[in-house]
């Protein structure tokens, strides 16, 4: 797979994937026309409806019962769609970290191999702390490129944010300054999609489900009326509104965490051989046009594992059938 296509991100979350169908702001007004010109300036694309999938927390290399099965299943699901999405976004923890020499690079290679099977035009990704937390993102950048960047697609402005490479859960002053400058070009009505790894708010700080300067980041986004934030890290679905922004977490493609409001301890939900993809799924997001501009609707898409369900079927696939 060439690097250019890989930088175009398609996001599919195994456990829960998010399919985002977005309709760009109607450009009937002078402001809309200017926005269309601005957003289309870099890549020549004109505003038009499109779909995006979000995949998250594939943790390639993590020694769990499913291995990469959920990830591969998600790829199959996306590829089976009658109409392929325009983009897939991976929101971090592409790989599980290791300090064995050469092994982490191999895991990144394996990730690219599986993701490369996606039959989509563009794939984009951001790192998770397991990808970039130990070395400041050095290996990740050598394989995937920049950890934060932006691009435009059919009337929407996409922003990839890195809140993992600094070891602490934070975006940092330099990147926030870049974000402020990046956003300054756009009017308040511009539809903006931010994708990152950790939640940009205090979801559960004692589980490290937060970003230290998340408030500052959200303040930079606050003036904009159509902001959607996609993230991972928490291995479960979640929806939050902050001002006019809507923030959606996607499930993982390896294991799930419980609802933090129901339990005290952050412990992974045990694997269930009878329901191997339980708590995993795909999140679908549909966008619609209205009088007030772009709207994004998020819903769950179940992971159809009927042909692989049951103990007998999975024993053929599990790395350790005795589990």
């Amino acid at each position: 797979m060439d690097r250019r296509r890989f930088l175009t991100v398609s996001s599919v979350s195994l456990g829960v994937g998010a399919l985002h169908t977005m309709a760009p702001l109607l450009t009937g007004s002078a402001e809309g026309a200017e926005l269309a010109r601005l957003l289309g300036h870099e890549n020549g694309e004109r505003p038009a409806p499109f779909r995006v999938f979000q995949l998250s927390d594939t943790h390639v290399g993590w020694d769990g019962a499913l291995g990469t099965l959920a990830f591969e299943r998600a790829v199959d699901i996306v590829n089976s769609l009658a109409q392929a999405p325009d983009l897939v976004l991976f929101t971090g923890d592409l790989t599980h970290d290791t300090e064995k020499p050469g092994e982490h690079a191999e895991r990144m290679k394996r990730f690219r191999e599986i993701a490369g099977r996606l039959k989509v035009p563009k794939i984009y990704q951001v790192p998770g702390e397991h990808d970039a937390g130990l070395d400041g993102g050095e290996l990740y950048r050598s394989v995937f490129g920049a950890t934060f960047y932006s691009f435009d697609h059919k009337g929407f402005h996409f922003v990839a944010l890195d809140n993992v490479s600094r070891a602490k859960p934070e975006v940092g002053l330099e990147q926030r300054a870049w974000l402020a400058k990046d956003l300054a070009r756009f009017p308040r009505t511009a539809p903006i999609v931010v994708f990152t790894h950790r939640p940009l708010f205090d979801l559960r700080p004692d589980w490290e489900w937060f970003t230290r300067d998340g408030d500052e980041v959200m303040s930079l986004l606050a003036p904009y009326e159509n902001v959607t934030v996609l993230y991972g890290h928490i291995h479960r679905e979640h929806e939050q509104a902050i001002g006019s922004a809507r923030l959606f977490a996607a499930r993982s493609l390896c294991f799930a965490f419980p609802d933090p409001q129901l339990v005290a301890d952050k412990k992974a939900i045990p694997f269930d051989k009878a329901e191997p993809f339980k708590n995993l799924g795909i999140r679908q997001v549909r966008a619609s046009l209205g009088s007030r501009g772009a709207a994004v609707e998020v819903s769950e898409v179940s992971l159809d594992a009927r042909e692989l369900s049951g103990t007998e079927g999975f024993n053929q696939l599990l790395k350790n059938p005795s589990l």
Binding site: H96, D97, T98, E99, E129, H130, G133, L134, V164, A167, K168, P169, P205, D206, W207, E208, R212, K266
Partner: protein, 130 residues
């Protein structure tokens, strides 16, 4: 007149006997010291107990790499760097069990690295904390 002078003198002497420094701690009283050691992927001890209103000095050390020591409700947000002891003075005001995490990514087991600070109702009420 004389009783007024005697009363004033008594009040001045009392104040001198109970001089408080900036932290509200009696000048002659040193805080209890608790040493906490971090290593991948655990803190030792896993749990400590402090009384409500008690001032405690935490000495934070690491046996390997840099770790974080973060517990927002207690206002603690520190880095534990190899070769250096980080000192934190805390006077918790509210009872409860507070989860303290490592928030400096330290490896594959980082997500489970935590300890508990228990704040119990105690006899140290009245001390002014930070």
């Amino acid at each position: 007149m004389h009783s007024h002078i005697r009363l004033t003198a008594a009040l001045v002497l009392s104040a001198a006997a109970f001089t408080m420094d900036d932290r509200g701690v009696r000048a002659a009283e040193e805080p209890r010291v608790i040493t906490i050691t971090a290593k991948r992927f655990e803190f030792s001890p896993k749990e400590i107990t402090i009384q409500q209103g008690e001032t405690v000095k935490l000495l934070l050390r690491t046996d390997d790499v840099t770790h974080g020591f973060f517990v927002r409700p207690l206002g603690i947000d520190e880095e534990i760097v190899p070769g250096k002891t980080t000192e934190v003075v805390v006077t918790p005001r509210t009872q409860g069990r507070y989860t303290t995490i490592c928030d400096h990514f330290c490896g594959a087991g980082h997500g489970g690295m935590k300890m508990t600070i228990v704040v119990e109702a105690g006899t140290a009420a009245g001390k002014v904390g930070p």
